[in-house]
């Protein structure tokens, strides 16, 4: 399967996938994303639900058994991990290129 078809990830998707390296339910993911992005990315409930549905459909995340009857748990799937790694590689490459062509490191 060609995993590059999923790239580039949107900022929202990237943060959700980063957050889902550990299993979490919807609201926890929202809080985690906000925390990871130091408050810059706030995903509202409707957007979050749609994004999770899309990721499930693409099999980048899975549902894992939850003992809460009203909250499903989501977690990054194996494919999801591979896609996330590819995306990070892609972003690293961009950073390197930017550095090599005159952008100072850290900017």
């Amino acid at each position: 399967m060609n995993l590059t078809q999923y790239l580039p990830l949107t900022e929202t998707t990237l943060y959700i996938m980063l957050a889902l390296r550990q299993p979490a339910h919807g609201y926890i993911i929202m809080q985690k994303v906000e925390e990871l992005s130091t408050g810059r990315v706030r995903i509202a409930a409707g957007t979050m639900y749609g994004a999770l549905e899309n990721l499930l459909k693409q099999k980048l995340i899975d549902n894992v058994p939850s003992n809460d009857a009203r909250r499903k748990l989501y977690q990054l799937s194996e494919t999801g991990y591979k896609v996330l790694r590819l995306e990070i590689e892609r972003l690293k490459h961009i950073l390197t290129i930017a550095g090599n062509t005159g952008f100072e490191e850290g900017i």
Binding site: T12, G26, Y27, I43, A44, A45, G46, T47, R71, K72
Partner: protein, 206 residues
């Protein structure tokens, strides 16, 4: 109080519910074909938000509602398969919208359109296959009373009117389904238009 209204555009529907609340009519239920149910309440400034989703099972539905409740939105109305899901903010400093980007907000029109297309296809297949297979009035008689059309005067009218409800029951459902199919086809086209309108109005934010 009940009011009949048809909305394709969710933004206009949200505005309508807010205006009703300002007049002292609190929305509490939507029933099929477009009836909005209100109770009298103190006039209030509200921020209704509408999403469109149908769910495979109760667990999915509960999970969805809880995700909203956890983040400050009360589920006002909507069932597992009703599609329209109505929300009001629970807390004062709740975020102003249930969507945080234009793309995901536009997707609700697409989900609505998909439901309309599904009904269009189902009702179309059902009604046309019924009409094509049975050919009411052509290969299959609509009235089954033997010798009905040879009867005269009062006897004819008595037999005719007696069978009419049964005859209608034989053909009317197919035509109603056909009408329903066309109706849903129109809704699907209008939903698509609303989707495009919404995107073009919000282009600068996308």
């Amino acid at each position: 109080m009940k009011q009949f209204k048809l909305f394709i555009d969710f933004t206009k529907e949200e505005q309508y519910l807010n205006e009703q609340a300002k007049k002292g009519y609190k929305f509490f239920k939507y029933s099929c074909l477009g009836f909005y149910h209100f109770v009298n309440a103190a006039p209030a400034d509200t921020n209704y938000r509408i999403d469109y989703h149908t769910f495979k099972n109760q667990y999915d539905f509960n999970n969805y509602i809880t995700m909203f409740e956890d983040s400050g939105w009360r589920h006002v109305y909507g069932t597992k398969s009703s599609g329209g899901q109505y929300f009001l903010p629970i807390i004062e400093d709740a975020p102003s919208d249930i969507f945080s980007d234009v793309t995901s907000k536009a997707q609700r029109y697409i989900r609505y359109q998909r439901t309309c297309i599904l009904w269009f296809v189902l009702l179309f297949i059902y009604s046309t296959s019924f009409l094509l297979i049975n050919k009411p009035g052509l290969s299959a008689p609509i009235f089954l009373t033997p010798g009905l059309w040879e009867k005269q005067g009062l006897r004819f009218w008595f037999a005719f009117l007696f069978e009419l409800p049964f005859a209608l029951m034989r053909v009317l459902p197919a035509f109603l389904f056909l009408a329903g199919s066309i109706y849903n086809g129109c809704l699907a086209i209008m939903a698509r238009k609303s989707y495009k309108n919404f995107l073009s109005q919000n282009k600068e934010q996308a």
